[in-house]
């Protein structure tokens, strides 16, 4: 599934309009990519997802945080791949048959991949159904929603990427 990011011009325009009105941008219905990590479901904003690819040979990179598993070649573009398991505090595990790399756009336009155990589907969740995560939320979790009787944490890709940069 491939989703492009809106042209820079459009993003600037929306952000400017939102800034003028003093509110954060709020689309009405969020489209979220549902993935599985360590047996639990998590969500990622679909507009940040560039593509999803199967696992492929990962080249390890020296002197990087353990969160960075290595780099892959994506049609010639070399992209870092981060371990979402580790980012979420799960133990390391060998990726299974359903493991995928979710390729995201960062805020500055850079591209990075997240290794997940499985990719399930795309959910359409009304903005109103996204709640504040309770108590002391884990890093990178910006909201909580429920689907099919389970809670899903919505992750902020930029915060995940930042975890690696530290």
């Amino acid at each position: 599934m491939t989703v492009g990011s809106p042209p820079r011009w459009e993003r600037l325009a929306r952000a400017a309009a939102a800034a003028r009105e003093g509110r954060e941008e709020t689309p009405l219905v969020r489209e979220l990519l549902r993935v599985e990590v360590g047996g639990a479901p998590y969500a990622l904003p679909i507009e940040r997802v560039r593509e999803i690819v199967r696992l492929r040979p990962l080249t390890p990179v020296p002197r990087v945080p353990p969160l960075v598993l290595g780099v892959i070649s994506l049609r010639g573009q070399i992209v870092q791949v981060l371990d979402l398991r580790q980012a979420l505090g799960e133990a390391h595990a060998t990726p299974g048959r359903r493991a995928r790399i979710v390729v995201l756009h960062g805020e500055g336009g850079e591209v990075a991949g997240l290794l997940v155990d499985a990719v399930r589907d795309v959910l359409r969740v009304p903005e109103a159904d996204l709640r504040e995560p309770p108590g002391d939320p884990a890093p990178c979790v910006t909201a909580l929603c429920s689907k099919d009787g389970r809670f899903l944490s919505l992750l902020d890709p930029d915060q995940v990427l930042e975890l690696a940069a530290r």
Binding site: E10, A13, R14, A16, L28, E31
Partner: protein, 117 residues
Amino acid sequence: MRAMIGAALEELGEKVEIDEAESGFAALRLLPRRSYDLIVTDINMPDINGLELVSFVKRDRRYERTPLVIVSTEGSERDRDKGLALGANAYLVKPFAAAELRRLVLDLLPDARPARS
């Protein structure tokens, strides 16, 4: 952009049916298939430009009465004037608030049963 417009219009309720076309040519193909109550189109499209679509719609007896809204960036007056001169009913400038679009639609369609291309 299409997704945003779609989402904004869906808020109008279940009486709204929306058809999306990803290009001018696709729109040309969709038009004869259903009787649409409203058309919303972008000016900047890769194949035929929005003005050409407006011109076609407003010159064709089958569609000339269908209300048509043009969407474009930065409110460039030239495109707006041309579009309006060609017969478009209304014009929205990006970025626009979803509420603005909804109000416009309700204005143009007293009976709020829009389908859109």
